[in-house]
């Protein structure tokens, strides 16, 4: 039962060849998980969040902070359900976000920039890494689905917009262009031609989710926080259902 003072790793059940094989199995699973989550989570985000994450001039203060956390909490919840329930590994959300960012950056650089010629700054992705770190930490400390759903889900959504504002604030500088006031992001949308995406297709500042005293983002963020508290347990149970150990007889 001796432990290494700093690294603090508890005594292991396997030693010798068993430990070596078990570690090889760890790496095998990690590599497979990496590719699986890069592909699956990236595809999920591209299909559900899509243009809001692709383009500067879609990252608005209303729909972007509402939809992105709501769609992004899905895979982390499912993966946490597996890794925490069976292995007490509090890294599901961070792992998902790392995989998402790998996939997203590969796509933005190679597909959007080199293949389709868009300047890379026009297609900068958003980050959800701070939200994921907090979600993992809350799950680990609480060891509770209910607490993580409520406080983790809310933190996940509420941290999204302020995490990304340091990246995107500069694109909201006002510009006089074509006898109108535009943001720098709007100018990108006008100048860099997207034949299939006219400006009117943007779903920004629409619908009944109006501003309150001209502040739209806090309303969207809290609305997203509420929905994330519901989305989290839903996907937790989906993850649990998919990762059944019914067929594992003995280890």
């Amino acid at each position: 039962m001796a432990t290494t003072p700093f690294f603090d790793i508890p005594a292991q059940p396997y030693t010798g060849e068993k430990a070596r094989l078990s570690r090889a199995y760890d790496y095998l699973i990690l590599v497979l998980a990496l590719f699986l989550f890069i592909g699956a989570f990236h595809l999920h985000m591209a299909l559900t969040v899509g243009d809001w994450d692709f383009w500067l001039d879609w990252k608005d203060r209303q729909w972007w902070p509402l939809l992105t956390p709501l769609m992004a909490i899905t895979f982390p919840a499912a993966v946490q359900a597996v890794l925490w329930t069976h292995f007490r590994l509090p890294l599901g959300a961070t792992l998902c976000m790392a995989c998402l960012l790998i996939g997203t950056w590969i796509t933005r650089v190679f597909a959007y920039h080199y293949w389709n010629y868009f300047p890379i700054n026009m297609v900068l992705p958003a980050t959800l890494m701070p939200s994921a770190l907090v979600l993992d930490a809350i799950l680990m400390l609480s060891n509770s689905l209910t607490v993580t759903s409520i406080f983790g889900g809310m933190s996940f959504a509420l941290l999204f917009y302020p995490s990304n504002w340091p990246i995107f604030a500069m694109f909201h500088m006002p510009v006089e262009y074509g006898n109108a006031q535009l943001t720098l992001a709007d100018v990108f949308g006008f100048q860099y031609i997207r034949a299939g995406s006219p400006e009117y297709l943007r779903i920004i500042e629409r619908g009944t989710l109006r501003t309150y005293g001209q502040y739209a983002t806090p309303l969207s963020a809290f609305c997203s926080a509420l929905l994330c508290t519901l989305m989290y347990p839903l996907w937790w149970h989906l993850g649990k259902w998919f990762a059944t150990i019914r067929y594992v007889k003995a280890i």
Binding site: P119, L133, V134, A137, I167, H172
Partner: protein, 411 residues
Amino acid sequence: MLKRIKNLVGTVCLALSCLAVVPNSAFAHGEKALEPFIRMRTIQWYDVQFSQDKLAVNSEVAITGKFHVAEDWPSSVPKPDMAYLNVSTPGPVFIRTERYLNGQPWVSSAALKPGGDYDFKIVLKGRLPGRYHIHPFFNLHDAGAVMGPGHWVEVTGDAAAFSNTVKTLGGATIDMESVGFANGVSWHGLWIVLGTAWLLWWVRRPLFLPRYKMLQSGREQELITPLDKTIAKGILVVVPLFVFGAYALAESQYPNNIPLQTALDQIDPLPPVVNTSLVQIKVTRTEYHIAGRSMNMVAQIHNLSDQPVQIGEFTTANLRFINPAAGLPAKDQGDTMVAAKGLTVDDAQPIQPGETRTVRIAAADALWETEKLEGLFRDADSRMGGLLFLYDAGGKRYIASVSTAVIPKFD
């Protein structure tokens, strides 16, 4: 074995040769796939010109032209309450620096009025060298894209020389090709490093089988150490503090930031250019002869102007049928969509002032088929539309937007 190697080499060579013949840029934009009645009876383009065929990186080409919004707008196509004049290019090989509708700068979408006349100008700046087939076209909300005439334009020079700067209202000059990139990468890099550190903190230990076994044997408490908990508590405190601190810093750096803009532009049509009533035209019957690839119209023309006029051109869906008997100067820029002798009128004599005459007009050319317009009568809406151009001896032009049902002739 040798045979296998030969097969492999052969396959690779075949694949490479296929790659070699793949064109570098797209030169068709799906315009033929759109139903003929939409192409003929929505946006009726004319006088579209490209200021040059060849330009250097950073130089500009202007696309100018006019269009009439058809009065006989198809009932199955939503009205053009939100329309965006776009340019079909293979990605941003140009940037669009200016756009005008009826002389008014225009950056967003606008409503178009059926029966309205408009002129437009789009200024493009060369960004990437290459030879591109480009079209002006309209994105119509809920209806799709209606292409204008296309043209080949070549951009020469060095892509690295491209520059694009914009001045903000605060007075800063922004390089659009690089603004925010280093900042974005830095923030992403920082969070990725922190996330990776958290992952490595856990991955350094034996993971799946040992942890599962320990959990099953009731040693759960050993799997999360006091140091792990301390770090997690640190994350809960430090990450939100850092996030909101950075947010406040960004706010103070850009205090005049504004939300993305969504307003539509309001642009009125020009004073009438088409159907001005000086020359009134009513097409009473139209037949399409499939074998002859000929659209034959019977039109009643009433000349209320003070000059004799004659029919010079019929244009529809970017096809132009020219009446050679009218003796008009060619203005087709080598366009393959022009049938230079495609229009004939049964009575070549000019229509005198005050005269009302019924004429038979035939627009015949293989273009009907190659542009996939001959399938009009197979559409649910089989009415045709287009613009008839008449000229007096002084070159003054009268334009009429015409439309009728089309009767196919199969023999």
